[in-house]
Structure formats: C-alpha cells, structure tokens
Amino acid sequence: MAQIFTASADMRLRAILLGILILLVCLATFVGGYAESSYGTLVGWVQDQPVPFSHEHHVAGLGIDCRYCHTSVETSAKAGLPATHICMSCHSQIWTGAAMLAPVRQSLAESKPLEWNRVARLPDYVYFDHSIHVTKGVPCVSCHGRVDQMPLMSRAKPFQMKFCLDCHRDPAPNLRPPDEMTRMDWTDWDRDPGAHKEYGALMAKTYGIEPAKLTQCNICHR
C-alpha cells in the first residue's frame, strides 16, 4: 500500500501552522498599532476647515473666554458651534475686507451655516454631555488640550474608552474650582498637589460623584 503522507508532510504541516501563528501575531500587532497610532486616534491631525480659524489668536491673543462662542457648554450636551452671528459680533467691524473671512460674510448674507469639520468627535454609541462635566469641575483643557496653543485646531487626546475611564475611575484629582473651568494655563495646583487632592475629594463628596457608578457601562453607552 502506497503511503498517503510523504516524508516531508509533517514538516510542511508545522511550517503552515507556524505561518498562521506569525500571520496572526502580525495582524494583531498591526490592528493594535493602528488603533493606538495618531492615524487611528486623529490626535494632532489638523482638519480642513472653510475658514482657518485660529483658537490661538482668539483665546491666547485676545483672551476671549471659551463660552463667548461655545455658548451652550454649561447648559446642554453640546458645547455649541457658534452661529455666524457670533463671529460677526466683532467681524462686522474688524477685518471686514479680509479674504480669509469671505466665507463668514457669505454665510451671514445667505444665512447658510459654515460647514466646519468636526475635530473632537465621539462615536454615536457614546453618550456624552458637556454640561455635567463643566458644571461639576472638569475643565475644557482636560479633553481638548491647550487650545490656546493651536493656530489650527486638532484633536489633543485620543478619545478612546480608556481615556474616559481613567477619569471616571478616579475623578477627584481632575476637578477644578468653577472659576478656573475655561482657563487653559491654570497651574496653581501643580505647586501644591496636596490642596488639589483635598479639594477634589471634597468636591466629589459635595457633587455626589460616585466612581463606582461612573464606571457602569450604561453611564456612557445608553
């Protein structure tokens, strides 16, 4: 009776198994690497915009508070993209002929909104409410980074689940006094971490923040 398997069959089987293993490891490395890369998280990637709006100029240069334009951040889930009317509060009088601002004037004239491209976007399966974060002490800079140093807007933090959970597991050290919510460069507590810790613990108690509840799935996925 002829042999079914040749002498090298065993070797070939092993080689194929090893090949599959190597392929799987490569695939996992690639997927993981992609998810963590700035290409996947979009951190630092500038989006094309109809007008090259500079947060650096308006926030650091002119000292305009975030809430001047993002008016609903304290009262609703959305921070609020400013209506053209808000841009024109100033630009009806200054830089009135600037070519850069032509889309803004056109938007006002035709009452068609400017089509900004989202920079800090969360997936649709995530429930997020700006107001609860801002009114309970999580400052803008925690998620949006040093917006005052961004001539063109880009995402500052990878909005992955672990980013949210890091804070939800232990919110106290991330809480700030209400007055300093929109401050970008507030470092008072870096000098005295003790005070920060105490304040955070106290505020977590005052606001009724319970980390055990904050890490439940349905807090963000509802």
């Binding site: 002119l62 000292g63 001047y68 009317h85 009088q93 649709d124 399966y125």
Partner: protein, 177 residues
C-alpha cells in the same frame, strides 16, 4: 440574480466597517437631505413659542432681587461676554477695540451713571450701535446680573470717600501720597 443572497454577508461586513460610529440618526449640526436648507437643526416655525419662552419673558420683565449670588453671576458673565470690548473695569478699552473695533463708551460717564439698570438689560437684549444683540448668548436673568455688576463697577469708580470705612480710608490716603 440567484447569487444575490450570497452577497448579503458581504454587505453585513461592509456595515461593520463603520463600527456603529455613525448611526442612522441626526445629531445637532449634521447635514440632512430631508430638509430644503440641508440642516438637521431646524429653525422653529414662525409664530411658535418655545417651552421656556414665557418664563424667560417674565424674567426679562422683572428685575430679580439683588443678592450676592446675582452679583457673582454678573461678574462671571460680564467677564465672558463684555470684557472683550468693555474691559474689566468697564472703561471701554478692551482688547477688541484695541484691534480696531469702534470703542464703546465708558460706563463711568454721567449718562450711563444716571441710566436705569433696565437700560443695560435692553442694550444686551437688542444691541446698540455697532454692538450686536447678545440675546442668543445671555439669558434674561443673566442680563439683570450683568446690569447689577455694571452698577457695582460704576460705584467702584465713583464712591465718595466718606462712604468708606475708617480702615479703608486710611489705606486710600496712604496709597494716594
């Protein structure tokens, strides 16, 4: 055509590419082919009244009672919406006028010292001269709060020395020389 059902799994695979990140629903500010203007956020139809509107109008009509909380709120809102032009002291030398915006009048002039608080609320509501209306940004109660804070600012630049406490007057005399 018979092979069509065989393609179904492929379509399902394509669906998973999106990772449920874009679900078939409208979020604020999204595009919508459903409406003529292409916006998911629609302007309320004419002659409709939003649920909070009557309460808002009542708040606008009547000045809230003065309190420290109202004053603090006024200070905060003034800082956000007014200081870019009117500056922290209300003299009208903010950073935006410094860049070419017509300078607003100082709050510390006779006409505005004599104006009633309602006048400031009206200006915030309807705008004045080159100043746009801030009705979309400042709630009625906050307009009264800002008016209250403007009153405090005016007093800060126009208080008679006799109204100060003994201690503060001594400080004032010490710093004046």
């Amino acid at each position: 055509m018979k092979s069509l059902p065989a393609l179904l799994p492929l379509i399902l695979l394509l669906g998973s590419c999106d990772d449920m990140s874009h679900q078939p629903r409208y979020d604020s500010y999204e595009k919508s082919p459903l409406f003529a203007d292409g916006k998911a956020l629609q302007v309320p139809p004419e002659k409709t009244v939003a649920r909070g509107d009557p309460a808002r109008e009542r708040e606008l009509a009547e000045r809230p009672e003065m309190s420290m909380a109202l004053m603090e709120r006024g200070r905060e809102r003034f800082g956000i919406y007014c200081t870019p032009c009117h500056d922290e002291a209300g003299t009208g030398r903010g950073r935006v006028p410094a860049r070419g915006f017509p300078a607003p009048p100082s709050f510390h002039i006779e006409r505005l010292r004599d104006a009633p608080s309602r006048y400031f609320v009206d200006v915030i509501t309807r705008g004045h001269g080159v100043m746009y209306s801030y009705a979309d940004r400042v709630e009625p109660r906050d307009r009264w709060a800002i008016a209250a804070y403007v009153r405090a600012l005016q007093l800060s630049q126009d208080a008679p020395a006799s109204a100060l406490s003994e201690d503060e007057r001594r400080k004032l005399e010490g710093s004046g020389s």
